[in-house]
């Protein structure tokens, strides 16, 4: 036991103690105990409190975690146990002091919920394990004990033996995989990629019909964000234009479909497909109008202008000025459903529609990215000045990127509006733009698998987190920070393509520019 031991132990303990206090102040201990109780098969009604034993399980886990993290990598086993002990004890001390305050509140029946809403007497009582004064001591003891346990666990799991064991398992898994690939027939190996795509396709065809409307809805939301993400990626990832106003282009697609295919305000009723086409065109026009004046802007200046553009569009859609056209805050209702071969759409058909739209978007994206146009965009992103001096018409290509990206946003918007049968200004707020931006970056810029993963993470995760009720966005925010710290390059980072092989046909031995002059300029 040395100074370092005490220092790390108490620092970590303090940290965990403070976190615990925070969790109690937002009533998260109740939530956690509820979750544990649900996992263990005892249902807890909304708004009711879980049994104390589940609370204890939560505290034990937390205390062990505190102990675990107080253990440093260096030092002897006893030292490590000490670190766990000190970590747990410090946590216990902090929590006990806090418990004392809570106990005081409980005893004097002081209601502080005007300031700290979560601190109801019931919640305090549960935290003190229903033991009132004794609860404080119990908490301290519990954390001290679990701190040592956590320390012991850390010692055990980080030991050489365990490391070897994990290594062995990893190798055997690798071997197994190797053996399986080896045993596969050659043509399976050769077409493995295609088999995978085929399976994916079958899965995508089967799932929507099977898994119910809620999953279809969530999946569709994810798909719409994939399309939006691809659109934004063309502007941001490929051509390097910091766009925070994609919601406006999204809105143009949505409102076009809404206006052209609903009874309000003109009863145009064009049908879904022509309206969708108009929506895409309108979004492109929007992108063009936005792009023309602001071509010279760069970086965050571009960002704030596009943000402004997004806000202007949203405010206008919502304003008294355009109420007759857009329904103002009321939005546009009763958007007609598309029909396909005379059959009206249901949730399954929408899922298919979105899958197809997604597939088309991905296809288009790949085609454009791996072309002269795509490379011109990338060079603009890297260094616009040099790009232009290398011969790229920077302004033209930037505009093109905005327009192509806008087309995707318009497509997403059109489908979105029709699927909800309603669209209003609240669907097109700044948060939408920010979400799309996050999708692209969390997933991995310029990476389609990344964008798909990002959409699942950003649109699917909050739905999964519904179990957490009001803690949903709190946890989501923390996860967002965590994801960026753990994988700053995105969930599935992009890599540059290998091209040298493609050009290595071995036909040409030396450079002869004149020979190809005629072929290139036609």
């Amino acid at each position: 036991m040395n100074k370092e031991t005490i220092r790390t132990g108490s620092q970590k303990g303090l940290l965990f103690g403070i976190v615990m206090i925070f969790l109690v102040l937002i009533n998260f201990h109740i939530m956690a105990a509820t979750m544990i109780s649900k996992v263990l098969g005892t249902n807890v009604l909304r708004g009711a409190f879980p049994e104390v034993r589940f609370m204890i399980i939560f505290l034990v886990i937390f205390g062990m975690w505190a102990g675990w993290s107080a253990v440093r990598r260096e030092g002897s086993t006893t030292n490590k146990l000490f670190e766990g002990l000190i970590g747990g004890m410090t946590t216990g001390l902090v929590v006990a002091l806090f418990g004392l305050i809570l106990f005081f509140l409980l005893e004097t029946q002081t209601d502080v919920r005007r300031y700290l809403t979560a601190l109801s007497f019931a919640s305090i009582d549960i935290f003190l394990l229903g033991l009132r004064g004794m609860g404080i001591l119990t908490l301290f003891g519990l954390f001290t004990l679990t701190g040592v346990l956590g320390g012991a666990l850390a010692v055990g799991l980080r030991s050489q033996a365990v490391a070897n064991f994990i290594k062995k398992i990893k190798t055997s898994i690798r071997n197994l995989r190797q053996r399986i690939t080896d045993s596969l027939p050659d043509n399976v190996k050769k077409y493995g990629k295609y088999i995978f795509y085929l399976l994916l396709l079958v899965l995508l065809l089967l799932l929507p019909a099977r898994w119910g409307s809620y999953n279809n809805f969530v999946f569709g939301m994810v798909g719409i964000y994939v399309i939006l993400g691809i659109g934004l990626n063309i502007m941001l990832g490929l051509s390097g234009q910091f766009m925070i106003g994609i919601a406006a282009l999204f809105a143009m697609g949505a409102y076009s479909v809404a206006l052209l295919n609903s009874p309000f305000p003109h009863g145009l009723m064009w049908g879904f497909w022509p309206s969708l086409a108009v929506g895409v065109v309108m979004a492109v026009i929007g992108g063009l109008l936005l792009g023309l004046p602001i071509m010279r802007l760069r970086g965050d200046y571009l960002g704030i202008v596009t943000l402004g553009f997004g806000e202007i569009i949203r405010i206008l859609l919502n304003s008294d000025l355009l109420t007759d056209l857009t329904g103002g805050p009321r939005g546009i209702q009763n958007i007609q459903q598309p029909t396909f071969l005379g059959m009206p759409f249901n949730d399954v058909s929408y899922a298919y529609l979105i899958i197809i739209a997604m597939a088309v978007s991905i296809f288009l994206y790949y085609r454009i990215e791996n072309s002269r146009t795509g490379r011109a965009w990338l060079s603009i992103k890297e260094d616009a000045l040099v790009s232009q001096a290398t011969g790229v018409d920077v302004q033209k290509y930037k505009l093109l990127a905005l327009c192509v990206g806008a087309a995707f946003a318009g497509l997403a918007g059109g489908i979105f509006a029709a699927r909800n049968q309603f669209t209003g200004p609240n669907d097109h707020t700044l948060m939408v733009s920010i979400n799309v931006l996050s999708v692209v970056i969390v997933g991995g810029i310029n990476s389609i698998p990344g964008i798909i993963l990002g959409s699942f993470a950003l649109r699917g995760l909050p739905e999964l987190l519904r179990e957490l009720e009001t803690y949903r966005l709190l946890v989501f925010g923390a996860l967002l920070v965590f994801m960026m710290i753990v994988r700053p390059e995105g969930l599935w980072p992009a890599s540059r393509p290998d091209l040298e092989e493609k050009g290595n046909t071995g036909l040409k031995e030396d450079l002869d520019p004149e020979e190809n002059e005629g072929r290139s300029d036609d």
């Binding site: 809403t117 200046y301 202008v305 202007i312 803690y471 709190l474 960026m484 390059e489």
Partner: protein, 369 residues
């Protein structure tokens, strides 16, 4: 020599922005001038006192925007990142000040007045100072930990990565505040002496114009803080070290500057400014709730960019400008107040179209190659 080689260059080449920019500028400016002409000269709908009132509220809100904007600009200048959670740091300061006033309101001072006065009524000056100290300290601490937890691990990552981390932090802080203090809207318990709405009366055209104490406090204090900060950044060793870190972290470290410490201090200062802005907000407007930082945050960010992001006087100018446009714009142009943000954003876009790096930003027309 083939024909292509010796043919002289063709000289017609269009430059879109060269054509579009003036058209766009003339359209927007023309519209604005025409509206101004209608409202100010043709209709003459408003008399002097209206303009004075608008000017006053514009200056006050502009001061607050400017103060928050400086926080954005400081951080941006050093890390080139948009600290999206800055508005939430301000929110935390607002809450800190709120609790301080609740406490000082709750303490009765023996022997002062009958019925006994509360501490904050008995010593308004002291409790306001305390509120600012507490608000600034708490926000500064929040800024410090925000950097340490959410941004420091991302040092060196591409610029957009910390932005997302900041968005995550912003969600977290907002929701944490909501869960801690409930989504309820509360008001600052101002000391009696500077109750909201009370102030000096000024008569113009026989109508009373109130120059509120809180407004004056807000305006004067924000100007003082800004000047202080500017002097600090330009003249002190810390300020110069901050600029050195801003321009090149590695080289700064080679000079013996502790880069991490400087960045931490930057966040502390920017947090303290946001905290001050938060307490001003509470004192002048009252409103305290978990979402209170969001709108001013976006506005201040806009102001910072408008002024030329990374540039401190630019942030001040941008904030004041935005405050004044928001307050005077709709009336001067005779447009609905619902569209005041449209006016503000439009004017901002026009300015940026013609000055692509903000009002006071570095002119990058000819970049060194």
């Amino acid at each position: 020599m083939d024909a292509n080689q010796s043919s002289p260059p063709k000289l017609t080449r269009r430059n879109y922005s060269k054509i579009i920019r003036p058209i766009f500028g003339i359209l927007v400016l023309g519209y604005i001038l025409w509206r101004l002409y209608l409202v100010l000269i043709v209709e003459q709908a408003y008399s002097a006192e209206v303009w004075v009132r608008l000017l006053i509220s514009g200056l006050i809100i502009g001061g607050v925007y400017a103060l928050i904007a400086i926080g954005y600009t400081l951080v941006y200048g050093i890390l080139f990142m948009i600290n999206f959670a800055h508005g939430e740091v301000m929110m935390i300061g607002t809450f800190a000040g709120y609790f301080l006033f609740e406490i000082t309101k709750g303490i009765n001072v023996a022997g002062a007045g009958n019925p006994p006065l509360s501490f904050s009524d008995a010593y308004p000056f002291l409790s306001v100072i305390l509120a600012f100290l507490v608000g600034m300290t708490v926000s500064a601490t929040a800024g410090y930990f925000l950097e340490k937890i959410a941004y420091r691990p991302l040092r060196g990552a591409p610029r957009l990565i910390p932005l997302i981390s900041a968005i995550g932090a912003s969600f977290f802080l907002q929701n944490a505040a909501q869960l801690l203090f409930s989504p309820q809207v509360r008001d600052y318990a101002n000391p009696q002496a500077i109750a909201r709405g009370s102030g000096w009366n000024l008569m113009i055209n026989e109508s009373r114009i109130v120059i509120t104490y809180t407004g004056v406090l807000t305006f004067v204090l924000s100007i003082l803080l800004m000047i202080g900060l500017y002097v600090m950044v330009q003249k002190t060793k810390l300020g110069k070290a901050m600029r050195a870190v801003a321009s090149d972290k590695k080289t700064a470290a080679l000079m013996g500057i502790d880069v991490d410490a400087i960045i931490s201090r930057t966040f502390i200062i920017s947090g303290a400014l946001a905290g001050a802005a938060g307490v001003m907000w509470g004192l002048h407007n009252g409103l305290v709730h978990f979402y209170v930082g969001f709108l001013p945050g976006i506005k201040a960010f806009t102001a910072a960019v408008l002024g030329g992001i990374g540039n401190i006087p630019g942030a001040m100018l941008g904030g004041m400008f935005l405050g004044l446009v928001e307050s005077l714009g709709p009336t001067a142009l005779g447009i609905s107040f619902q569209l005041k943000d449209v006016i503000a954003f439009l004017i901002m876009i026009v300015i940026l179209v013609f000055r692509p790096s903000g009002l006071l930003g570095e002119v990058l027309s000819e970049e060194k190659v």
